[in-house]
Symmetry: C2
Amino acid sequence: MEYPKVFEDLINSFRKLPGVGAKTAERYAYQILDLKEEQVALFLESMEKAYHTLRPCSVCGNLTDQDRCMICEDSKRDTSLICVVTKAKDIIAIEKSGTYHGVYHVLDGEISTTKGILPENIRIKELLERITPDVKELILATNPTVDGETTALYIGKLLQNHDVIVTRLAHGLPMGGHLDYADELTLIKAMEGRKKI
Amino acid sequence: MEYPKVFEDLINSFRKLPGVGAKTAERYAYQILDLKEEQVALFLESMEKAYHTLRPCSVCGNLTDQDRCMICEDSKRDTSLICVVTKAKDIIAIEKSGTYHGVYHVLDGEISTTKGILPENIRIKELLERITPDVKELILATNPTVDGETTALYIGKLLQNHDVIVTRLAHGLPMGGHLDYADELTLIKAMEGRKKI
């Protein structure tokens, strides 16, 4: 005996999600049957609408259901400051910190020798086009990983003869953690970047 | 800045799934945007259809899109043998083993003093109604847990004056495991149930 076809289809759909195996997908599919009618309706509607209306902002690449995203549309934002991130979701992380009032640029990937991702495969050309004389600083907020560092270095080199200031987010100990949990590289970076108090 | 509302709705919908927190729901929602058009269409269609067409089999409580499930409809099944399980998904597990050719009865829960689930809250009454003189054996395949054992003992007591034979799945060491990984209770059960070779 197997599941009814429609249930198999639902399980297989859940398996398309990252890190979801057969057992988890099955549990998710059973959970759908236990939801309230309006919860399922909202699930279906939001999935359908999200897929068909969300797109990258025509300026920065952030997720939006308009032509330009809420940040690019916000006249209070400082457009002389561009923070360069790997993925659109990194914007949310920075926004939550509440310390940044400039605009963003989503690269949509990082240069990677192992994955074969070249500079022309990510949105570096689009970034260069945005660097007008009005732009004072470019903050490179790619991930603190090999690929993220490579990407930051590459962009830094491209712009070394430009007037724009290029900075990189600080590396060091994460707040709230314990020193003995920090890895070696993080400790080296924390030591290098030490500050007088 | 927050996500567009439709994306927030999608994230919140994923959070309704068991064990899915904010970060995971966000990852799932982003993955939906990366799926192919036909994959999203199948996801939406199967979720909608599964929710609206699947129901418990009118005889055994198994998941079906008909009035009676595939097993109850199968004339080759031995209806003198009823295997009693906690949840519909347990049927799939037993079916995969390929050793059982009787029919099933889904209790849809287990008696639980801690969760306040009483015998009348699960499908015990429906089970008793199915025990006609044609039924020879009832295999109690509830979980090997406190609640599962309680439920099995309760049903066993109810039927002690009936002609039907009531059996319980064997407890012991799981196949393919190592002895030193087995817990104490499993080892006690394995020792008690030892057989001459």
